[in-house]
Symmetry: C2
Subunit: 121 residues, 2 copies
DNA sequence: GTATATGCAAACAATTTGCACGCCT
DNA sequence: AGGCGTGCAAATTGTTTGCATATAC
């Protein structure tokens, strides 16, 4: 993967926020440094970066969001303010349970807990 | 919600398979009984049925799938054969943990475990 | 020099919606 | 009769892709 200014900035934008941005948000942000960057380029770079494991992709309903935090963690999604928060649960050894009980080789776990955060009643 | 033949059949199609169908698959299936049903109607009915809790909606990457099984359960998704299998894990009392640790009122949990089922090496 | 990356616009796929008409209740 | 449900097609939304040009190495 060859260096490009565009990819460099896409990556640093994703990695310097914890807002789990969409491609569109990243696009708007990168535009501040590279005004003539195109949305297609942002998508291409987000794909490459997540395929290579530099960032994570998470599915939020029908839209894809990106996450600079690549440590294993889960998400709380408040359906009032739509904020997504990272959480770390005590690591349950899912891998072993899933292997023994279902004979299934786990490679990825996506856990999203939806509900109401403490800002709402 | 008023009776309609279309909704009735959409519901029974979703509830009589465990293949976690997409809207398109349901459409093709319902067509066998109602040849001139439209895709829009299928979408509208899937939405109503899931909003009312008669069926579940699950997100599979960027496509939405539907599930006639409305009991609490999780999914194993094989990324070789793309099959989605229902599993029931020992109910960990997530609700309590999430409330105490994060002050967050859980209303829904979506857990998808991706990996390789025992048909592949 | 050559292959990869880019900008642009068109193509795509999944889903939603406006409208006139039809059918439950 | 009144209103919800339908078929149809067009519109939207999020994302991908083809192509000619630009850039890294």
């Amino acid at each position: 993967m060859r260096y490009s200014k565009q990819r460099d900035i896409v990556q640093s934008v994703v990695c310097s926020t914890d807002c789990h941005p969409t491609a569109d948000w990243v696009f708007a942000e990168v535009k501040k440094s590279i005004p003539n960057i195109s949305l297609g380029t942002v998508y291409r770079n987000l794909k490459q970066l997540s395929d290579s494991g530099f960032i994570n992709r998470i599915q939020d309903g029908s839209v894809t969001r990106y996450d600079g935090n690549i440590k294993s963690h889960y998400h709380l999604k408040c359906n009032k303010c739509n904020k997504i928060t990272d959480i770390i649960l005590q690591k349950i050894d899912l891998r072993k349970i899933i292997k023994t009980k279902f004979d299934f080789e786990l490679s990825d776990v996506e856990l999203t807990i939806t509900g109401k955060c403490n800002k709402h009643t």
